[in-house]
């Protein structure tokens, strides 16, 4: 199998003059220490090639997926969970199929949690897990098969049932037998990893099994394990055709859990996930934890509305509505909201349209107390257009001049970029970020800064159609709404988040989208219909 390292070769490198020895996108893996066992062994984990379809792989659950799995299987949110698995961040997502591993001290943490869950389950859930508690040949095996199927996300092989039965029989009580079985199951690689192995088909490719497809659908669309309906479809052979996948995808997208999955996607895609912990100098003390959480919910809600209503990608940028509760509406100085989150039409001229005008974006992509044209420009370039901005080369003056007099943020950054060397990169950042300048570091609209009128003109340079003149955030959003580059970028991140591999099945997805209605949902479905979702290449 050929392989490639996620690195510079796969990236669009932007600016001439920004060139330095570049970071790769190889990511962190594992949890915190070297192994105590054998020799260091192995080498660098590199992402496999995946032009059309990648190789057969195992994918470790993320920590959130493990938590969601335990909560779903035991039907209880109080099941012991915690920071058990360390999730490597790659491309801003915690979804990488190659880099997420179990290594070093991870097994210790997995064992600790498995035993804690086993103790909890025997104490709290034994009656739910089994209708009998006899040490005969049948009762334990029924428990093993029933619970095992849920945790493994497929029926257990007979040999596996036998192995667990042996663990059970080594104990002297039903409770201890159950404890032994649960603690072992929760350390099983069949629980910790999703399998994408398939069976060899006549076309020479491996076709994922119905149970593997059930997991792929479920973790992609709900970030959790297959529900009973999905498992039943797999049991009955009703998860083999495209129509089957479409039916189940439609059902899952309508379920509340899909907001969990796509909420995480949106927070990662737009780099707003850490908004709750951003250190901000808010003199009004109005940027409360509740407001920050509301901002995130606002952005996720708009995205979910666009997704579920089959609206086009463009609506993400042009929506004249949002979702707010009274608390968030009050923060924004808007009315029309209730005590719960609901759709609110934006009054004219109160804020910019679409997701770029939302508090999560404006507050997260700013300094502690000031707007940041650089960060906002970087957001547009990297997360919406999939361009790579090289870090500043060594030994350049990176100081933003201190505020003096009535100078505006724009003026400070214009001074900063006056140096031709700096400007070789910053011409692609700052003039984009200037279009956000009607919005401060807390998401509030402003017409003046330090008594000076806001100038939010700018330029989005280097587009295929040439440089795009900007005059305010709506002008930027209007351009992005119709940009093919934005749709293509969304495809890249959405497919990476689903597959855990970058640039998989791109041509297939692109072909399907060319015939689609341009909706966000069509991207989701094209990812599901692509070869990488259902098949794997022969070794």
């Amino acid at each position: 199998m050929t392989s490639r390292k996620l690195g510079l070769s796969s990236l669009v490198v932007l600016a001439v003059g920004c060139g330095v020895d570049r970071p790769d996108h190889g990511a962190s893996a594992g949890g915190g220490g070297s192994d105590a066992g054998a020799d260091p062994g192995g080498g660098e984990l590199v992402a496999p090639a995946c032009a059309t379809r990648g190789p057969r792989i195992t994918r470790r659950l993320s920590n959130a997926q493990l938590r969601n799995t335990l909560q779903a299987v035991f039907q209880d949110t109080t099941v012991p969970t915690g920071d058990i698995l360390t999730d490597p961040v790659v491309l801003g997502f915690k979804a990488d199929a190659t880099q997420a591993t179990v290594r070093d001290l991870d097994s210790q943490l997995i064992m600790n949690n498995a035993e804690a869950v086993a103790d909890w389950a025997v104490t709290k859930k034994l009656g739910q897990l089994t209708s009998c508690q006899t040490m005969d040949a049948t009762c334990p095996r029924t428990l093993i098969q029933t619970l095992g199927k849920k945790l493994y996300r497929e029926p257990l092989a007979q040999a596996t049932v036998d192995a667990y039965a042996a663990l059970f029989s080594a104990e002297t009580s039903f409770a201890d037998g159950t404890r032994a079985v649960i603690s072992a199951m929760l350390q099983s690689p069949y629980v910790l990893y999703r399998r994408e192995l398939g069976t060899l088909g006549s076309d020479g490719n491996y076709h994922l099994t119905p149970y593997e497809l059930a997991s792929s659908l479920s973790y992609m669309l709900t970030n959790g394990p297959p529900d009973d309906t999905l498992m039943s479809a797999a049991d009955q052979g009703h998860l083999t055709t495209t129509a089957d996948l479409d039916r189940e995808a439609a059902r899952l997208l309508a379920a509340p859990q899909s907001e969990v999955a796509f909420g995480q996607f949106v927070r990662s895609w737009l780099s707003i996930d850490d908004l709750p912990t951003r250190a901000k100098m808010d003199p009004s003390n109005r940027l409360t934890d509740a407001v920050r959480a509301g901002m995130l919910q606002e952005t996720v809600s708009v995205f979910m509305n666009v997704l579920r209503s089959n609206a086009k990608v463009s609506e993400l940028f042009t929506a004249t509505y949002t979702f707010m509760d009274q608390n968030l509406a009050s923060y924004y100085g808007l009315g029309g909201a209730s005590s719960t989150f609901q759709r609110v039409e934006l009054p004219a001229n109160t804020r910019a349209h679409g997701i770029l005008g939302e508090g999560a974006i404006l507050t997260r992509h700013a300094l502690a107390d000031r707007s940041s044209p650089v960060q906002r420009g970087k957001l547009v370039r990297e997360r919406l257009l999939c361009e790579e901005i090289a870090p500043p080369p060594p030994n350049v003056n990176t100081n933003i001049p201190a505020p003096t007099g009535n100078i505006t943020t724009r003026e400070r950054y214009q001074e900063h970029s006056a140096d031709p060397f700096c400007n070789s990169c910053h011409q692609r950042l700052d003039p984009v970020g200037f279009s956000f300048e009607h919005f401060d570091a807390f998401g509030h609209k402003r017409d003046q800064e330090n008594g000076q009128p806001i100038d939010s003109t700018g330029t989005l340079a280097g587009m295929t159609s040439g440089d795009v003149a900007l005059d305010g955030l709506d002008s930027l959003s209007t351009y992005l709404a119709t940009s093919q580059a934005v749709s293509k970028c969304l495809v890249r991140y959405m497919s990476y988040n689903a597959y855990g591999l970058d640039h998989c099945s791109e041509s297939s997805i692109s072909d399907e989208l060319a015939k689609s209605d341009g909706s966000v949902k069509s991207i989701v479905m094209a990812v599901i219909h692509a070869p990488q979702f259902t098949t794997r290449a022969a070794d």
Binding site: D21, E44, D83, R179, N399
Partner: protein, 422 residues
């Protein structure tokens, strides 16, 4: 019921014992090997780069430190303090996410291993085995990790102090025979299943599962007591920490856990990262107005009052770790833990303001088993542009390592710094 169950056992020793160390209840087995070098323990304190002009202890001479405002809080360690600057990363630590700070190799490095992992491997090869070969703790979970490496693969620190506590002090000793057997049986089954899965994967897929198998073997080693430390006395694990409210405060807890792990001889090598080069949110009263370490403190403040305050706060944490080391007996004997530990404050960049690694700086402290050359008024070394990996080699040398093949960049000197130790 004839067997003592884990639950029964937990009742007897208290629920906390489910996650608590049993080291305080049992005497540790004698060491398989006491040590390799003069220093028995290596504690790496890893942070972002700084503003050299504000950090440099101007006026210092080889045997006399004149503290700058930034370094002043290190003064309680004066008699065991060595400040080193003007070392070059030779391009390996010149920018954000540059991996050279602890490896000596830049983005294009093909065999990156951070000094903590290099030392841990050497100790193990020499027969100095402890339950955990090394600890990597701290950093910021939301960011891509590029500081610690093994086999050219970046390692994620354990971000959560709670998880770190559980990993370090997870119940591995003193458990009932029944629980011990249950654990071994479970791990046997896990190993069988790993082999089943591996047989269906290509070499790269198998490589990933082999890391899992290694991790299992580490647990098995702890269960069997085959990787005992050299304690012989007892130690206290402290209490399971609460979840931290911000990343830097989590790292303070991590530092404390690392010292405690030393006191139990659970590991000989620990690294704690404070912050991350891309994003570190700071809300610490002593530092001043809240903000991001990089964007707000390094690039937006001038003069860098908050950066100086943060450096001083970091210095206080470094000193606090030293103070705790001084208060604990060394499990290996020979005085306190401080006497046997080499503390190294290393950085991911030299000049963070200018994004370059041409002026890397280090702080060395600890008794280091007598390795460090010290002066009552402190020592200051002008590196004169030497490769910064020489400072990292010095840390390894203190731990008894004499061959540095496989570490750093072979194009530059891979020997300990002149005049730092003996």
């Amino acid at each position: 019921m004839s067997k003592l169950t884990r639950r029964d056992f937990a009742k007897r020793v208290g629920l906390a014992a489910l996650f608590a160390p049993f080291m305080s209840l049992v005497n540790r087995a004698p060491a398989s090997a006491a040590a390799l070098g003069k220093a028995k323990y290596l504690l790496i304190f890893y942070t972002n780069g700084t503003d050299p002009k504000a950090w440099t202890p101007a006026g210092s001479t080889l045997n006399n430190i004149v503290f700058s405002t930034m370094t002043q809080t290190l003064s309680p360690l004066l008699a065991n303090l060595v400040l080193v600057e003007k070392l070059s990363s030779n391009g390996s630590a010149d920018n954000h996410a540059a991996p050279g700070g602890l490896t000596g190799q830049g983005y294009s490095g093909q065999s990156r291993v951070s000094i903590d992992q290099f030392v841990a491997d050497k100790l193990k090869a020499a027969g100095v085995t402890t339950p955990i070969p090394s600890l990597v703790l701290g950093s910021v979970a939301s960011q891509q990790q590029n500081s610690f490496f093994r086999n050219n693969q970046p390692l994620s620190p354990i971000f959560s102090p709670v998880a770190a506590y559980d990993a370090i002090f997870g119940s591995v000793a003193g458990v009932s025979p029944n629980l011990l057997q249950r654990r071994k049986s479970a791990l046997d089954l896990v190993n069988t299943e790993l082999k089943q899965l591996s047989s269906q994967l290509d070499s790269e897929g198998r490589q990933k599962l082999e890391l899992h198998a290694d991790s299992i073997r580490a647990v098995e080693g702890r269960l069997s007591g085959g990787a005992s430390g050299s304690g012989g006395g007892s130690c206290a694990s402290g209490t399971r920490p609460a979840a931290a409210t911000q990343d830097l405060l989590a790292s303070v807890t991590h530092l404390d856990l690392a010292v405690t792990a030393f006191s139990c001889d659970i590991t000989r090598v620990a690294a704690v990262q404070f912050g991350h080069d891309q994003s570190t949110q700071v809300a610490i009263d002593e530092v001043g107005n809240k903000g991001d370490w990089h964007n707000d403190y390094i690039h937006s403040d001038n003069p860098r009052t908050r950066l100086a305050n943060l450096e001083r706060w970091l210095g206080e944490q470094f000193v606090a770790a030293a103070t705790k080391l001084k208060a604990l007996p060394a499990p290996t004997g020979g005085g306190t833990l401080f006497d046997q530990t080499l503390m190294v404050w290393a950085r991911n960049m030299g000049d963070a303001v200018a994004h370059n690694g041409s002026d890397m700086r280090f702080v060395f402290s600890g008794g280091a088993g007598g390795y460090l050359t010290t002066s009552p008024t402190g020592r200051y070394i002008d590196g004169g542009g030497d490769a910064h990996q020489r400072a990292l080699c010095s840390a390894a040398a203190a731990m008894g390592i004499t061959s540095f093949d496989g570490f750093g960049d072979a194009n530059f000197a891979r020997t300990p710094l002149d005049s730092i130790g003996k």
